[in-house]
């Protein structure tokens, strides 16, 4: 299996002296292609910092961050920017779609910013919308879409083109549990192609969609789940009365 994301001995400290805060301490984490990992912890545990560092939106104080074999923590700014445009997809809690662009234009945008010719970019964007089953919404503006549709478009934008790493911070936002489940099904399907996914959440039900759940507390990874046995053992557990 290919490792799509690897954090080696990553630490992040904010401030200095007495006001110094250790957001992350010596984090070790590898995520393979095709694997969905949930990072679970309370607010202030460092889970969002972990995600922004994995996505090269922030540099660690120490350590290395490999995405698709490239050490982003020590790469040039232009190399970092290129990886953000081409290899990493982000899904945010509040969707972050641009209100003045249609669904299709929102999904096309990251490719256009990367210099992909317009026609090719539109074709890839259309494919991503197809995959997320919002093809017929391509011409709509974000405020004409339901919450669930907006999130599908946001995921389409995160997987468009050839991305290696999909990062999501509380990706189901304010959706109800059944629609939140739909989002997790989509993220799972997206990662099970050949993308590595990392979802940050405090929600146990969402985390349970992941192949592996990593627990973070006070900036430390303290534990993780074991591989999941088959579901058979759960069924036929007891006789009804």
């Amino acid at each position: 299996m290919t490792t799509a994301l690897e954090l080696r001995n990553v630490s992040k400290t904010y401030g200095s002296g007495p006001s110094e805060v250790h957001a992350l301490t010596e984090i070790e984490l590898s995520v393979h292609e095709g694997e969905l990992v949930a990072v679970m912890g309370p607010s202030g545990s460092g889970k969002s910092t972990l995600l922004t560092i994995a996505g090269s939106l922030e540099r660690p104080t120490a350590g290395q961050v490999f995405v698709d074999g490239v050490d982003l923590a020590n790469a040039s700014r232009s190399e970092q920017a290129r990886m953000r445009r081409r290899s990493i997809g982000y899904v945010f809690q509040d969707f972050n779609l641009l209100p003045g662009l249609t669904a299709l234009e929102n999904v096309t945008l990251p490719l256009e910013l990367d210099g992909v010719p317009a026609r090719a970019a539109r074709k890839s964007a259309q494919q991503a919308l197809d995959e997320l089953q919002v093809t017929e919404r391509a011409g709509r503006y974000p405020d004409e879409l339901s919450g669930g549709e907006r999130q599908r478009v946001a995921i389409a934008r995160a997987i468009v083109g050839k991305r290696k790493l999909l990062l999501a911070d509380e990706p189901t936002g304010a959706l109800d549990s059944v629609n939140g489940e739909a989002v997790m099904r989509l993220l799972r399907a997206a990662t099970h192609r050949d993308v590595a996914g990392v979802v940050v959440t405090h929600d146990a039900q969402l985390a349970s969609w992941a192949d592996r759940v990593v627990f973070i507390r006070d900036g430390h990874i303290i534990d993780q789940t074991h591989p999941v046995p088959g579901p058979e053992s759960l069924l036929a557990a007891g006789e009804p009365s």
Binding site: H202, D223, P231, G238
Partner: protein
């Protein structure tokens, strides 16, 4: 308790033989409750004795077809609206383990909480896998898996709340950085409201 009512519900659609009742019961409860055919027949005999179902045809067991009686319909309607027992005895095993852990010197209660949190989430992953593998139209299975997942999620939330209460009750853990294996002062006995 609920098997007789489930059989009454199946009979309220149309008269049925025992074998068919067994297979429909399993299909409509997401196949998570196996039911042997012997149990179906003993239940039907009891329902017949109580005047809640009536049997067509002579003979024994498999040759009898059952229909719901008017008294059975009334019984079923009442049962659907009767709240189940929601007040369990206050001796949940996990709660007791955590309360006991508070009293054992040298025990890191946060670590105990995490052991249980991980275990519950692993079980949740298995139920989610059941849901993920289920065909889209399998409504009973989705409902059964949801029920278990919400119940397990409540346990995780209780563990999370217990973590916070323990920290608040123990001033020595109020650092910006906590070592991976913090020790809890056994003398600092947190409040017992965690059992609520």
């Amino acid at each position: 308790m609920s098997v007789p009512y489930a059989l009454l519900a199946l009979l309220s659609e149309s008269p049925k033989y025992g074998q068919r009742l067994q297979s429909e019961f399993e299909a409509r409860t997401g196949r998570v409750w196996p039911l042997n055919v012997g149990q179906v027949y003993t239940t039907l005999q009891r329902l017949e004795r109580d005047g809640l179902v009536e049997a067509d045809g002579e003979g024994e067991g498999a040759r009898k077809q059952y229909r719901i009686a008017p008294a059975g319909r009334r019984e079923l309607e009442d049962w659907l609206r009767t709240p189940p027992e929601l007040v369990p005895p206050p001796r949940d095993e996990l709660v007791i383990k955590v309360l006991v852990a508070l009293e054992v010197p040298g025990t890191d209660v946060h670590e105990i909480l995490q052991v249980h949190r991980r275990h519950v989430i692993e079980v949740m992953q298995r139920y989610t896998a059941v849901k993920a593998a289920a065909t889209e139209g399998d409504l009973p299975l989705a409902l059964v898996a949801d029920a278990e997942l919400f119940r397990l999620e409540a346990i995780v939330r209780w563990l999370d709340a217990a973590d916070v209460r323990l920290k608040q009750a123990d001033p020595s853990s109020q650092h910006s950085e906590v070592s991976p294996t913090p020790t809890t002062d056994p003398e600092a006995t947190p409040a017992t409201e965690v059992s609520q």
